[in-house]
């Protein structure tokens, strides 16, 4: 049995408190009126002079079509509407930062749940010793789901303007969104989110109950039941994951669409999930637990990290190249915004998510060296955090993004909750799923 060390508990609470203070600071310092924004703009104009002015004009020409109209009007109306536009972006900033963090950690536990279900459906032998680690990571799923759902309810109450299609004023003046309002409307959006979440949480709780029951069972009835449920869950997951990515991320840019977006989000999800499984396992091994996890298990996880990093890049590039080649204005705006306003995070994440894991984890021997896995794992997690950041921020805060207190403390806050929930769940059950029929194979797994 694992006991949640008081040291780690303190770290988790410290992260939560620091994060909470930072998030609160972000909300309090967000400008509340157009006058505030004009003051900020005046300050920055005086500080940066000509450069800032040309920068603002230049970047606004290339954002979405609706923004373009805004900025042209803003130019002719000498700044008032422009300032209002900036005000909305700045007011969105702390909300978006929180949303990135909420989604990222929720995505890790959802990806782990999918990976876990694959292990059961495939009746994999090697990974049985890691089941309790995976179950612990998925135990964040209900918590994350509730936090996200509350966030969506707050969005639908117009406390923030992340989802522009939720604003009836916008829909009335936008034919494209109006055409999609049969799907993109607040009640249906919340119902869909609830359906996805209930389905995922149901499988999470059910699978946990069945493996715990299997530990002391004399027959395999729990195991076979879990096998069938896992296969059914994977079918449900594949559809709902795709729809979730349209609803929760792609609809932030309601004019833009990409047909492989669900897979792209899934790639990010699964690689972050496997990296987290590896990191938690190595941490526990370092503390003297999980003595049955050997080099070969970590080697396999590192292979998955390597493979899915390449897979992510493949999907990222497939999406990018088709849009770049076709060069259709309504599609290409998505990447133009990212290239103009987000060049460093957008291109930097390719280094973090592709080049670095590719070069470091290519050698077979390095996949067995713990600190190599930890170092690459941290880089991969940061890279995919940036990936989610670049998926969400351009639509909600435009060129007003900054990696500051709001962004960092949102990540810390949710990380604190995540650590607390995951390690509490770890301490609730034995670390070896000893009832699984493949447990011997897994303990002797050798590559």
């Amino acid at each position: 049995m694992y006991t949640f060390s008081s040291k780690l508990k303190t770290v988790a609470f410290a992260l939560m408190i620091i994060g909470f203070l930072g998030v609160a600071y972000g909300f309090f310092t967000a400008p509340s009126s157009v006058e505030d924004v004009q003051l900020i703009m005046k300050d920055s104009h005086e500080a940066h002079g000509e450069v800032a002015e040309t920068h603002v004009n230049e970047t606004h020409d290339v954002t979405e079509t609706s923004h373009e109209v805004d900025s042209h009007e803003a130019d002719s109306h000498s700044g008032d509407e422009h300032a209002e536009h900036i005000l909305h972006l700045l007011q969105n900033k702390p909300w978006s930062a929180l949303y990135v963090a909420l989604f990222f950690f929720f995505m890790i536990s959802l990806g782990t749940l999918a990976f876990y279900a694959i292990q059961h459906a495939a009746q994999a032998g090697w990974s049985v010793v890691l089941f309790r680690v995976m179950e612990a990571i998925t135990s964040y799923l209900p918590v994350g789901a509730i936090l996200l759902f509350v966030f969506f309810v707050l969005s639908s109450l117009h406390l923030n303007h992340l989802f522009t299609w939720m604003d009836p004023e916008v829909v009335a003046h936008d034919e494209l969104i109006a055409n999609k309002s049969g799907y993109l409307n607040v009640p249906f959006f919340l119902i869909r989110a609830a359906i996805y979440m209930v389905g995922w949480i149901w499988y999470q709780r059910h699978s946990r109950k069945l493996t715990l029951a299997q530990d002391n069972a004399t027959d395999l009835s729990n195991y076979t039941k879990l096998f069938k449920r896992s296969a059914a869950f994977l079918v449900f997951f594949l559809v709902t994951e795709s729809m979730m990515s349209w609803d929760w991320i792609m609809s932030l840019d309601p004019h833009w669409f990409s047909t492989l977006f669900g897979w792209y989000v899934f790639a990010s999800m699964i690689v972050s999930a496997i990296t987290t499984i590896a990191l938690v396992s190595i941490y526990l091994k370092g503390k003297g637990y999980l003595e049955f996890v050997n080099d070969s298990h970590l080697h396999d996880l590192a292979k998955f990290m390597f493979g899915f990093s390449v897979f992510w890049t493949y999907l990222w590039f497939s999406q990018f190249m088709l849009i770049w080649y076709a060069d259709i204005p309504e599609e290409v705006t998505y990447f133009v915004t990212r290239f103009n306003d987000y060049r460093l995070p957008f291109l930097g994440m390719l280094v973090l998510n592709f080049v670095f894991p590719l070069l470091v984890l290519m050698n077979s021997d390095y996949k067995r060296v713990n600190w190599f896995i930890v170092a690459t794992g941290i880089v991969i997690l940061i890279g995919h955090y940036v990936d989610i950041f670049v998926m969400i921020m351009p639509a909600t805060v435009g060129d007003q993004w900054f990696f500051g207190i709001s962004e960092i403390s949102s990540a810390l806050l949710i990380l604190g909750i995540f650590i607390y929930v995951v390690f509490t769940a770890l301490s609730k059950a034995p670390l070896l799923a000893k009832g699984n029929p493949f447990i011997k194979e897994s303990e002797h797994f050798h590559y």
Binding site: W324, Y325, A326, D327
Partner: protein, 173 residues
């Protein structure tokens, strides 16, 4: 140095594996082992060094990658620039995304083909090559361990007879 070897034959891969371990632990030099199929763990038991073909594969991949960059630049930018989809055709970097699939394929092509050729050369396999295996039965159901004789023929033969062999032959190589 003599080129005399003892060839001990086995009819089971587990017995062979044990024999290889025993022979090595009593400090006899194993020249070669011939098997009809890959025996799991044999290379470790024989104490063979890890293969370096992965390193060559990486280098060949890099060669293919470089070659594809040169090739696409020569074909599409220098020699015969074409206007495809309105993309500016006089700049490599601005057309680069379209060349990425080719770079990828060329890296794989070079790595795979050159690696196979390297493997054949390293294993001294080429067309019309005479078979090197000492007994045609090693392509059927027999395993042969070849041990070098170092002025200890009688001792070696009596040692190998105790390792579960079914047949022993002493030959000049």
């Amino acid at each position: 140095m003599s080129n005399k070897v003892v060839q001990a034959m086995y009819n089971d891969d587990d017995i062979l594996l044990d024999a290889v371990k025993e022979t090595r632990s009593s400090n006899h030099h194993i020249e070669e082992v011939y098997t009809p199929f890959p025996v799991h763990g044999l290379e470790k038991a024989m104490g063979l060094k890890d293969t370096r073909i992965a390193i060559t594969a990486f280098m060949y991949g890099c060669v293919g990658f470089m070659f594809s960059i040169w090739m696409m630049n020569y074909m599409m930018i220098e020699q015969w620039p074409q206007d495809i989809g309105g993309k500016p055709s006089f700049s490599f970097i601005q057309n680069m995304p379209a060349f990425v699939p080719i770079m990828f394929e060329m890296s794989v092509f070079f790595a795979a083909h050159l690696m196979v050729i390297t493997f054949y050369m390293r294993s001294k396999l080429w067309p019309f090559k005479e078979a090197e295996n000492p007994d045609p039965r090693t392509t059927d159901d027999m395993f042969v361990m070849e041990v070098l004789v170092d002025n200890n023929e009688a001792e070696l033969v009596s040692f190998l007879e105790k390792t579960g062999t079914v047949e022993i032959k002493v030959t000049e190589k």
